[in-house]
């Protein structure tokens, strides 16, 4: 059964460094999402992406964040200059249509030191 995959599973970085989190959505899906979950808090929406552009973004998704679908299979989240408060589990998801079931990846745990 097709799955969303994410790499790496765990990323440790120094404050101020750039990180790129990678996701491979399910191949026939058209809508892509990033969510994050800070330890002990709710899963929060970051951004949705369709037709090679951002469809919707939350107030968390500021200028330090960007998303890209560089090659038709990968979907990446870049954080330009990480802060301590960016430490969280980041989940990628994809769906066939915007209101259909979202399939989630296993997450990348980002630790900013």
């Amino acid at each position: 059964e097709p799955e969303v995959t994410q790499t790496p599973s765990h990323q440790v970085t120094q404050m101020g460094q750039e990180v790129i989190l990678r996701c491979v959505p399910i191949s026939n899906h058209l809508y892509f999402y990033w969510y994050r979950q800070i330890l002990g808090q709710k899963v929060e929406f970051l951004v949705s992406f369709y037709n090679n552009e951002i469809s919707e973004k939350s107030e968390i998704f500021d200028d330090q964040f960007s998303v890209e679908r560089p090659d038709g299979s990968n979907f990446t989240l870049k954080i330009r200059s990480t802060k301590l408060e960016d430490s969280a589990m980041y989940f990628c998801a994809s769906s066939v249509e915007k209101t259909s079931e979202q399939f989630f990846g296993p997450g990348t745990r980002l630790t900013v030191l």
Binding site: E3, V4, Y31, Y33, Y35, Q41, K42, V43, E44, F45, S48, Y50, S55, E56, S58, F91, S95, K98, T99, E101, Q102, F103, F104, G105, P106, G107
Partner: protein, 119 residues
């Protein structure tokens, strides 16, 4: 803005028994979807069940069913004949269903309920 509240941080149940997880939400929208997602330990979130707000009939998927009370903005999940494999974090989630296209599938999640099924 929509909010989703799960008031039970943890629940436990004996194998083969029935358990109900609570979820309430707040929205001024009339058309929306509600979901229950399950996240087993160290594994990814998977969809358990989905409810369209315009449907009065409660959704059912095998041992999983919901009690959707639109006026009360309540959406509880009932798990019958609980199995050890049901042990997981359960998230309730809300999605707007905007025919005008301004909603792009954003899910708003509750805090989650950790369910432990004991043998």
């Amino acid at each position: 803005a929509q909010t989703v509240t799960q008031s039970q941080p943890e629940m436990s149940v004996q194998e083969a028994e029935t358990v109900t997880l609570s979820c309430t939400y707040d929205t001024s929208e009339n058309n929306y979807y509600l979901f229950w997602y399950k996240q087993p330990p160290s594994r990814q979130m998977i969809l358990v069940i989905r409810q369209e707000a315009y449907k009065q009939q409660n959704a059912t998927e095998n041992r999983f069913s919901v009690n959707f009370q639109k006026a009360a903005k309540s959406f509880s999940l009932k798990i019958s004949d609980s199995q050890l494999g049901d042990t997981a974090m359960y998230f309730c989630a809300f999605m707007m269903a905007n025919a005008g296209g301004t909603s792009y599938g954003k899910l708003t999640f509750g805090q989650g309920t950790i369910l432990t099924v004991h043998p």
